[in-house]
């Protein structure tokens, strides 16, 4: 993955800072609770939701199992329909391909439809280095781009900004924004409409991602709301789509499942305003498809973690996550925040950095994300698996080794418990040095004067044997009294 967020500290530090920002917490709480309610209502309308979810899961699993075969089929169909297919092993290769394609057209400006894949590979920055300016056309992406900011949500990247902040930003950074601009969402949307209209009509090259690709027909599918997607996909002469290899579906019929799962999970609507579908070069356009690996095949090799590749980027898991709601998207240091980001980012990037190793811990394992996931990704299980795989700090490993040694023999445990019981008045409320990281957010457990085993023996039980229970099933009086 790209270096957009390189050098960020680990999640706990970012989160600790973010929760101090009461404006951010207010914005996030309001937005996530609104969307949660909308999603629940429209999902509740479909009495076959569980079956759709199972179909979504099994279609994705089947595709991933046969990904090589379906990618080759897709390539054949796109090529037959006049499109050109390119393959990119990593971000750098994808960026090189796109930059070359744009340069071949002679243009130095491109318009973009919101795309997670191009954000993941840092395409805008790479194009800028080649002297090509990329204009984001999705309203939220525009807000992020004008503010020189980072996205904080998959669906609504500017969710951390409220209307007053957006108005300020437009007045400061958007050329031609009306002086009397109010903070009404309608007025703000109108300002963006006027700002971008000329760009749409003049653009010669557009860059998009895709929500789905159909192997059987070579069709690409983009779901959106504003119409900026339709503008970019239909008006410019050259269209370049950068799509992760896991976005594939085998057949046209499979789309009937995902066109029900995605809008309801994502924006909480029965259907999003606009969906565009095209096959190869359409209505006189030139069409290039860049198939992106960038770590996906290594995720695919992991038996537990590969289910993350089912993800259709709906963001329902973000909206229900108690950690995301408080920490916000930036704390995750990735274009993929929230619960899905916590399992996707460390797998795509590897766990070399402190930040990426900390992400599997950015969860209370409550499981709300699994419950709402339209393709049934068991996020808590993957989190636990990644926690086991992450390299742990030396003090933690030493502590765990010591605990393991003590627990190995019951005599060692008994000795340790007696020692602890005698020393209990000397145990500080806060631990010193690096161990303070533990007690900063937790109380030290009360150490009892006597262990349960010692009490058991003292009360007349015998080691390894149960005390006699009378026929009425009640324990002897003195035991109950204690």
């Amino acid at each position: 993955m790209s270096g957009v967020f390189v050098g960020m500290p680990a999640f706990p530090k970012n989160a600790a800072k973010a929760v101090q920002n009461s404006q951010l917490r207010f914005n996030l709480r309001k937005a996530t609770h609104t969307i949660r309610g909308k999603r629940a209502a429209v999902v509740g309308e479909l009495d076959d939701w569980a079956e759709l979810r199972q179909a979504g899961k099994t279609i994705k699993d089947h595709t991933l199992r046969n990904l090589d075969r379906y990618l080759v089929e897709l390539e054949e169909k796109v090529t037959a329909a006049g499109g050109v297919v390119h393959w990119a092993r990593d971000a750098a290769e994808a960026n090189r391909i796109v930059a070359r394609l744009v340069k071949d057209t002679g243009e130095t400006e491109v318009v973009k439809v919101k795309s997670m894949a191009t954000m993941e590979i840092g395409l805008n920055e790479a194009l800028a280095e080649e002297g090509i300016e990329a204009f984001e056309t999705d309203l939220a992406e525009l807000i992020v781009q004008l503010g020189d900011d980072f996205p904080s949500h998959i669906l609504v990247p500017a969710i951390h900004r409220n209307r007053a902040e957006i108005r300020e930003l437009f007045l400061k950074k958007m050329a031609g924004a009306p002086k009397d601009l109010t903070d009404e969402p309608r007025a703000l949307a109108e300002a963006a409409r006027l700002y971008l209209r000329k760009r749409f009509l003049e653009a010669k090259v557009a860059i998009s991602g895709a929500n789905f690709m159909i192997a059987e027909t070579g069709t690409l599918v983009v779901l959106e709301s504003e119409g900026n997607g339709r503008m970019c996909l239909t008006l410019p002469k050259t269209l370049i789509s950068v799509v992760g290899i896991e976005k594939l579906l085998p057949t046209w019929q499979d789309l009937e499942v995902f066109l029900q799962l995605l809008p309801r999970s994502s924006t909480g609507e029965r259907m999003n305003p606009y969906t565009s579908m095209w096959t190869g070069a359409t209505e006189g356009q030139e069409f290039h498809l860049v198939l992106l690996d960038n770590g996906r095949t290594s995720v695919l090799a992991d038996k537990v973690g590969r289910q993350a590749l089912r993800c259709i980027r709906c963001s329902a898991c973000l909206n229900v996550c108690p950690v995301y709601e408080r920490a916000g998207g930036h704390a995750y240091g990735s274009v993929y925040p929230g619960p899905i980001g916590a399992i996707l980012t460390p797998q795509l990037r590897g766990m070399d950095s402190e930040l990426d190793r900390s992400l599997p811990y950015a969860s209370s394992l409550c499981g709300a994300c699994y419950e709402v996931c339209p393709v049934a990704i068991d996020i808590p299980s993957v989190l636990v698996d990644l926690r086991a795989k992450a390299r742990h700090p030396r003090t933690e490993r030493a502590g765990m080794a010591a605990a393991g040694w003590v627990f190995e023999r019951s005599k060692r445990l008994a000795k340790a418990q007696r020692f602890g019981g005698r020393m209990r008045r000397l145990v500080p409320k806060r631990l010193p040095g690096p161990l303070s990281a533990w007690t900063d957010t937790r109380d030290m457990p009360e150490i009892p004067a006597e262990s349960f085993r010692d009490w058991w023996i003292r009360e007349g039980g015998t080691a390894g044997r149960r005390p006699a229970v009378p026929p009425d099933g009640n324990l002897p009086q003195e035991s109950r009294k204690s």
Binding site: L139, R163, R193, L255, S276
Partner: protein, 188 residues
């Protein structure tokens, strides 16, 4: 270069899934019904998106179009029935079209660039889109629509006017696509 990348990616995939069990697809959901869609439900669901909807007998479509487009000049794509709408002189400020399929459950209209629907740009750039839907084009649900459509045609699925939820997740109608969507459903 791309050729090498292709081989590397395909090889990586094959080694990643080697030995993994085959995954069967389970389809327990409601599939295509093949039945006609509910006109009332369709009208109600399109209205939910804040589009304007008229349900009129087939014989009254032309007079309805004449009434609601008074004061407007609409662009007319090739193949639009000439007995339904005759544009007056002047610069068009909107577009009228037919559609390929409509979905009752989701209130969706699908255009496939067939007769009367024009190119994708023709129904996108104007600020006003008027769409005529025949009742026999309405299907009950998404699987029915998929079954009726040809994937290789350029398809545009439209559910209400252009909208955004990017500011505090409030839905606001009207960004880049047509800000007004008006639908005339012809019955009988």
């Amino acid at each position: 270069m791309s050729g090498a990348a292709r081989e590397v990616i395909l090889r990586r995939i094959r080694s990643a899934v080697e030995g993994a069990p085959e995954a069967e697809i389970v389809r327990g959901y409601r599939g295509a019904t093949g039945e006609p869609g509910d006109v009332e439900l369709f009208a109600e669901r399109v209205r939910d998106y804040k589009a304007i909807v008229h349900v009129v007998p087939r014989a009254e479509v032309a007079s309805t179009l004449a009434r609601i487009t008074e004061g407007r000049v609409l662009a007319v794509p090739a193949g639009f029935p000439s007995d339904m709408y005759a544009p007056s002189e002047g610069e068009p400020d909107g577009v009228v079209s037919t559609c390929a399929v409509a979905i009752a459950e989701t209130g969706t209209i699908v255009l496939d660039a067939g007769p009367g629907q024009g190119t994708r740009a023709q129904t996108l750039i104007p600020d006003y889109h008027l769409c005529v839907v025949r009742d026999d084009q309405i299907v009950p649900n998404v699987p029915d629509a998929i079954a009726r459509l040809d994937a290789t045609r350029p398809l545009t699925w439209i559910s209400g006017p252009s909208a955004t939820s990017d500011i505090e997740l409030n839905r606001v109608e009207g960004v880049h696509g047509p800000r007004t969507l008006e639908v005339v459903i012809a019955i009988g």
